[in-house]
Symmetry: D2
Subunit: 345 residues, 4 copies
């Protein structure tokens, strides 16, 4: 199978190259860019010398449609909304890594993204690709909307509690922390090394565009969940997300029951690892891999459950989950070509 | 005035040397260590070459009592409980940076510290030195118990809300993050560079010894506060603490009222800086200084207040606040010799 | 084929697990440790949950000899010298990642390692496994001595110049820089996070045990090379080595000739990537991979050649090169199971 | 005395504010910017809240001349060349932190800086302010050209050897390493956090503009020194420079003689600390201070001397040395207001 990648000059695109390099069934047919056509990929990414000698091509939709079996879109928000209808007309399947097709309500998208939303028709067509919780068969999907990095860590951590109605729906607080690569490759004062190193920042307070994505999915699982508190911190490291999630138990529970629930829920999910009781995952323990590691605590004094969920934001939080979805779409085992052991230390 | 420092080979002790180097009224008379007597200070800390040529002395209580006006204890927990009665007998005032005299209830200390508590008599004598919220005149104090780093950031951030009963007492969640120097200078696998760099860990879940310290103070301010959720994360940086604090408003409020309250509460407190509305402090903005920077958000959707409070854990969280207390004890302006501008970037 | 690993609790051992997880021809039969037998591997390395459920076994030589086809030794210096004769008696092949069989002269070993050297017989038997410059067929080898991390980066960078006698033999200066994982997993004040982060240190000045290893190989290639200047710096990062190498040209040369020479020399060497003229590799560009990236500069003003050579110290500098040698030993393509794309960023 | 600062929005300017905050004789009268006039200083630097409430003013030369006793220029290269003649006409003394007045030969400046040089007249007027090696009395100076960060570390390390003709003039190699703040506050892909963290780069190979500055001073001290090899590496940390300097001894020497020479040479220089034989400085040991720490090794096997010299690039390498020169200019003790203890850890 042949894939085209549009937007390879960002970190999501580069990570797709790393993953697909050894995939047994899929190869990258072509790379496309709206701004750097004519440049070789290795001018953007010298680490890919000897991996690919390809040159970035223009985004010629018809040619892509004729030559590629499907397309990864690893572009900034606003771009996919525009490209997807054209690609759909060429009958080429699309896996979109951006936020453009995640929010079903166009007004909500506009409010949080400060941009016009995609067309209603294609929003309805898009399948939200939280792989472990798909509500449809990806083999039938034309357009997969890959979840955001924070929502992936958060939703995988919260699903068993919310779906089983074990927590007070108004009590959910997600204190999220991310490495700096989540901000992408475009330079900005916020991600300037000297401003970020040996520093800890909180940002986009009550304004992060992943809030409506999280709420949309949670309320789909349990309509009682309406608004959550979600805050984001910038950690002086490159990769990794940790979501520390707090919620009040709405039923009598204990830590053993909770671990049983999580183990049963995710049984058979290769990329979800429920950690041993009393231990908690750190972000480095999933570095460079597609794993989401989860652990739990229950504090009787406050009747509060805490869930800790970690991912590599560029893998399970972006390119890794995109390939996992691609595998599902192609009818392959979900871990085909994706079984990377975390790079530790 | 002459100070003696017991325990200079840890980070708190070294920071006292940095601060007092230019203090106009106090000089360091002697350094003491139980394990490295005979060594020069600069063998532990080469950066102090030309700052001090002194040699570490044994902990000879009587000699210290005769020669020094007061003593800083910068020793691991368990040591001060033992030394303080001896020093008190010599009529030498003590500022203790350890946790030994913070917890008034001996059973609680024993439970969280896994050690025998100090004697009741001296626990009662000790004044808890959260400088901005002292309940007694330090000029009269013989024994000052310097607060913990996390409690300092947390309590300064929560005081206006708790004292004025503006929040649901059961709703308090503190998601705390610290640089690695908070773990001290003793080596351990947890603070080994290769395990900590480019990594984010959660640790001591529901077991951190600062939990009872925070609860003791909060319930003293408002008996309705009994248990809080307090979690601690290790950030891959050396210095800095951020406490992200969540609580549900128990009254009608808005962001302007909250900022007014905080500004009024801390008016005249040089080391507390209420940031401008809409901006939030990062840890680097107080690096190397004694400031505690605070900002707030209020989310109408969830009726939740968020307080962000940052300090340098070795300064306002340890040696800086100790010197601030020393100044109060000596009847000096609180910022004498302590007016360091943050080192940025 | 079945491999046994002795010493999996260090970083070299853990990296072997990561690499061999997907190797098509070799699986790890057993893990052995002298100190942690009975523990599961994931107690040392939680990131390996779901990758291996094995338990660390005692170092039972006879059993290893009966069950395994060959053994990786990833033990501290001094251990292999002792284990190898026993393993050789069991006719099990060994790839040793330690320094014990690198130095042919026992007196030299003793001087630099401060330990007794291995037996002369086995020193002679050992093949120095700098894969691109092997002087013997590894298919015949019983005992492979894997090169040190610094020597690998340095020798691959210097080989074309030294072998072709293009430089003044007395002029070689290697200014080497390494990430902290090179110091291993044992805790020490030098590798304590707070002492290493945001810091740059020079260490083991004129005393590093890799000096005699480098000189032994260089003088084997060109007897005119006797002593080199080699210094080592500790960089506040986890992985990566850069060797910045300076030497005076002994012939008329220019930058194009030098690049031609390097490209020809390493043609067909998959893991050596000569970078494009005018660009220089950074360590992150080989992170997590087995590549050695090299570039060059020539300064007419000083008649000096500069070579820049980077590797991942745990991959090409340790476990990666060990597997590359294993592949050669087994008659496989050198990159079998080893074709990792660098993890960037 | 009243100082004006032009260019406070860069790191050099911010550091001047930190230093002068407690200076007993000098206060900052006004801040000036060509691009951000009307903004408050704390909008650029929130860490200065409560330190300064001033607003950035336009660069109104006449007003500055009337109101300020002298001016610090902390502007990018090219700006001072233009401003200095105007300021000189107002009879206001200037300390320039940029490179514009360092290179005496206008052609050389143009070649390395790719810009037009300053006027010959003012180049001749400018005094090169390497404080410990001034060749004129700063009390008479109108225009002080503050040295570059790399030249400061390098020249202080080499001075005793070059001035006393102890080394082969052609053998000098400086392998320099710097934290990222040396690249300033302007964003660029090179200093983007995700590209720089956990990475080690070499840059501007044989093209760094500090090469002619170093050669100019060395050849002034010893005309035999013509060209040196000088390379620069970007270390994943914010502050600190280490120059590792190699040169061949031209006379019989030994390590004790060398230490004696350095100690005698720098006797009475408060900010130069010759470390104890056998120990070497790390950059963190001068962090936030104006010290330059130096140590030496001599290797008999290669007859090579190695000098290790470290500074904080924003202090002794920029703002600190500027204030040291200011003190000399004003006839004050050189360490007035500048006696900061290094911030460690």
């Amino acid at each position: 199978m042949k894939a085209a990648i549009i937007g390879v000059t960002g970190y999501g695109g580069a990570e797709l190259v790393r993953i697909l390099h050894q995939h047994p069934e899929v190869s990258i047919h072509s790379f496309h860019s709206s701004s750097q056509q004519g440049n070789r990929v290795i001018e953007s990414y010298p680490h890919l010398q000897s991996i690919t000698a390809q040159v970035l091509e223009d985004i010629h939709i018809e040619k892509i449609g004729n030559e590629a079996d499907f397309v990864f879109l690893a572009t900034p928000s606003g771009v996919a909304a525009n490209l997807v209808p054209q690609l759909m007309n060429q009958n080429v399947k699309v896996i979109d890594l951006s936020g453009d097709f995640r929010i079903k309500n166009r007004e909500v998208y506009k409010k949080w993204y400060k941009k016009e939303a995609a067309e209603e028709h294609w929003l309805n067509e898009a399948v939200y690709g939280l792989t472990e919780w798909l509500d449809t068969d990806l083999k039938e999907a034309k357009l997969i909307s890959n979840p955001g990095c924070y929502p992936t860590a958060t939703l995988l951590g919260l699903a068993p509690l919310v779906k089983n109605k074990l927590i007070d729906e108004k009590s959910i607080i997600i204190d999220a922390k991310s490495g700096v690569s989540g901000a992408g490759r475009n330079v900005s004062p916020v991600t300037h090394f000297s401003e970020t190193n040996e520093n800890l920042k909180i940002y986009k307070v009550n304004e992060h565009q992943h809030i409506p994505e999280i709420e949309q999915v949670l309320s789909g699982w349990n309509p009682g969940v309406r608004a959550v508190t979600f805050s984001t911190h910038l950690i002086p490291m490159t990769r990794g997300i940790m979501a520390t999630i707090y919620a009040s138990a709405s039923i009598d529970t204990n830590i053993d029951q909770l671990f049983d629930l999580y183990r049963e829920t995710y049984e058979g999910c290769y990329f979800i690892r429920i950690r041993e009781k009393g231990t908690f995952p750190s972000t480095k323990e999933v570095y460079g891999s597609n794993f989401c590691d989860i652990s739990l605590a229950y504090d009787e004094r406050t009747n509060r459950i805490m869930v800790v969920s970690v991912i590599d934001n560029l893998m399970k939080g972006a390119a890794g989950q995109a390939v996992q979805n691609m595998n599902m779409m192609l009818g392959l085992d979900e871990k085909t070509g994706l079984d990377f052991v975390p790079v530790y230390p």
